[in-house]
């Protein structure tokens, strides 16, 4: 029902401390956009600026064709779900859900109907006459969600809504929220969602697109798949994916990557993708993209530690003083023999080369990267 546009958004605290550096971002109507980044990257501040709870130092925020810089939160067609639920402690669940409508002076029958409808969607009917302190974390979260839902807003803002829940509940709430979004979309009113999290699993599983942020700047905006397969820079490469991508510092020399005394031939597939050949380079290899080989171009490393995860094994190995993590199948691991020295061959199709000076991925040029 409403797209959100951020134009050169800036936030400066106390005239000196700049935390948001000219963000520009288009969030499409009905899109599920996730802001993700480490703590202190200003993702929550950005969300609060969209909500109108934080003043904007410079730039514009546009929600559904309307510049909302100077509008109060309630006039921005938004609803927000807070990290610690922020339920009104002295009101029953019913009161919490209906507060916004009561303030707006809507007729009693309409409020009743809206409360019933939302309670049915979120399965919280039996809780309507309880106080927030009588609710469990998951129930409180659903009520908080209901309080946003009842307003039928154009934009939903979520500020780390699941971080206070335990792992199991988090997983089920994750599905519930995405399902709800899909359901609303199917019903014809497709609310835009801006969802802040520091948890990349949430980001990857929930978002239509993900905006990775660091220190008040956007690092990359892309679909989960694209972020994983084609990280634009070192930060995104290291942030997305578990275990983390191996980032091996070395140098490019005549089409080969040199790390310590070892030399890894790049192959034509990768060299065709390079937009430049940085002297100081960082090679990015996903742990899953290694295979154990007996011969051929590979990195030689000493196995330090192996974590048995069931169907696969996480191998921690030392390569020229650098830690390499690789994930191989349990059978492949068993078949490697007794030697401590292993040979790891990265899949050239999924290799990334980053320029160490500015962190840019220089291997995205031209050719496509295998998914």
């Amino acid at each position: 029902m409403a797209y959100v546009q951020l134009k050169n958004l800036e936030k400066v605290y106390n005239n000196t401390n700049k935390v948001v550096h000219g963000l520009s971002l288009d969030i499409k109507d009905g899109e599920f956009m996730v802001f993700v980044g480490p703590s202190g990257c200003a993702k929550s501040t950005t969300l609060r600026m969209i909500a109108g709870l934080e003043e904007i130092t410079a730039g514009d925020i546009i929600i559904g064709d309307q510049r909302v810089n100077d509008l109060s939160p309630s006039k921005r067609q938004i609803a927000m779900v807070f990290q610690n639920y922020a339920l009104y402690p002295h009101m029953k669940v019913r009161g919490n859900l209906s507060f916004g409508l009561r303030i707006a002076g809507r007729p009693k029958a309409e409020i009743e109907a809206a409360v019933e409808k939302v309670a049915a969607i979120l399965e919280i009917e039996p809780l309507l006459d309880r106080l927030p302190k009588q609710l469990s974390g998951g129930q409180a979260q659903r009520v908080a969600l209901g309080r946003a839902l009842i307003k039928n807003p154009g934009v939903f803002l979520f500020d780390e809504p699941l971080s206070n829940l335990d792992a199991k509940l988090r997983a089920s709430m994750r599905v519930r929220i995405t399902d709800l979004h899909r359901q609303l979309k199917a019903e014809g009113n497709s609310p835009t969602v801006v969802y802040v999290t520091h948890d990349q699993t949430e980001a990857m599983t929930m978002g239509d697109r993900i905006c990775v942020m660091q220190a008040g700047r956007i690092m990359q905006v892309a679909t989960p798949k694209e972020l994983y397969n084609a990280p634009a820079n070192l930060f995104v490469a290291g942030f997305i994916g578990t275990p983390e991508m191996n980032l091996v510092e070395g140098a490019m020399e005549g089409g080969d990557f040199v790390v310590g005394s070892q030399r890894l031939a790049m192959g034509s597939d990768l060299s065709g993708r390079l937009s430049s050949q940085p002297a100081d380079a960082v090679l990015g290899i996903r742990p899953q993209q290694f295979s154990l080989v007996a011969q051929g171009p590979a990195l030689e490393a000493k196995l330090v530690h192996a974590e048995f995860m069931g169907h696969e094994v996480y191998m921690h190995a030392d390569c020229e003083g650098r830690r390499l993590v690789s994930v191989v199948g349990a059978a492949e691991f068993e078949a490697r023999g007794q030697s401590d020295v292993i040979r790891l061959r990265p899949d050239p199709k999924t290799l990334h080369v980053f320029d160490k000076s500015d962190g840019r991925n220089v291997s995205l040029h031209g050719g496509s990267i295998a998914a």
Partner: protein, 301 residues
């Protein structure tokens, strides 16, 4: 076999003996501790107990001993004390006190909440200087402002009325309460207020519907303090009120000492008991909230 079971039995008896000894020690230490507490507590409370007891004594008996049980209990002190030596009964003075306390307590609660909310939640020009001056007022001895205040109220034509006694407080004149509420508000998380703003409430609605209910315990403390201090205030009425028909109870008590040549102590004591009764009743009724309120300053939301 027998030896082993014997040894077991004796070990068990030893254990039981030790347990019994521990229980006995525990009981004794409890008895001693409670006896001591009761003794000291009784000592502290004795003047109050004596006051209540003596109010039922005859005048001659009051000074005949330190015991608090009256030999021939009489309510004469209450009956005559209530009549007072003025044309008015003591009920009149209670009513006067009430007329001061009611607007003062309500006004304090409302005005201090609004001022504290502003200081705790909003940014406005000169906020730091203004809050600094609130603290400065808090530290200023009351006597310093007595004379300027008196002159001010005289020029306003408020002398011999209740106005000087409650209007300043009803306009958040008591820096202590403002400070107390600011501190309490600072300990409350702002999320609920932000949620209310997103829900469409303006600042006043947020204050009334969200902040005030959360502020409940602190407000009870404010009202209670204000109630008790006003009830006990002697100097204020003494300075500003000159007609006997406007005297609050604190002044009226003194009146019964002044106007009679031979002090009727049983009347004074009886009226003293009546005077402290409302404060005691209110305190015990509100005790739970009161303690919550003054101890909640350090609580995290």
């Amino acid at each position: 076999m027998t030896d082993i079971s014997l040894a077991k039995t004796s070990a068990r008896t030893l254990d039981e003996a030790a347990a019994a000894r521990r229980a006995r020690m525990h009981l004794m230490s409890s008895v001693i501790r409670y006896a001591l507490l009761f003794a000291v507590g009784f000592l502290m409370l004795y003047p109050l107990i004596w006051l209540v007891g003596a109010s039922f004594k005859t005048n001659s008996e009051i000074f005949s001993g330190a015991g608090f049980l009256p030999q021939s209990p009489t309510v004469e002190g209450y009956v005559q004390g209530w009549q007072t030596s003025t044309p008015y009964t003591f009920g009149r003075f209670f009513w006067n006190s009430f007329l001061i306390i009611l607007p003062k307590v309500i006004g304090t609660a409302i005005s201090c909440t609004m001022v504290a909310y502003a200081f705790a939640r909003f940014d406005f020009p000169f906020k730091k200087i203004l809050f600094g001056s609130v603290i400065a007022v808090l530290l200023l001895p009351n006597v310093v402002t007595r004379i300027p205040q008196y002159i001010l109220f005289r020029d306003l034509g408020w002398l011999d009325s209740f106005l000087p006694l409650w209007v300043p407080s009803a306009l958040a004149g008591d820096a202590f309460f403002v400070f107390m509420l600011v501190q309490f508000l600072r300990s409350l998380p702002t999320d609920m207020e932000e949620a209310a703003r997103v829900d469409g409430a303006n600042s006043l609605q947020t204050l009334v519907f969200i902040v005030v209910p959360m502020l409940g315990p602190a407000l009870v403390s404010v009202c209670l303090f204000q109630f008790m201090w006003t009830m006990n205030d002697f100097l204020g009425p003494l300075i500003y009120i000159s007609s006997v028909d406007k005297y609050p109870v604190s002044l009226a008590l003194k009146l019964s000492i002044d106007t009679t040549e031979a002090f009727e102590w049983n009347r004074i004591l009886a009226m003293s008991v009546l005077t402290i009764t409302p404060a005691l009743v209110v305190f015990f009724v509100a005790q739970r909230y009161f303690i919550e309120g003054i101890s909640a300053g350090g609580r995290k939301g």
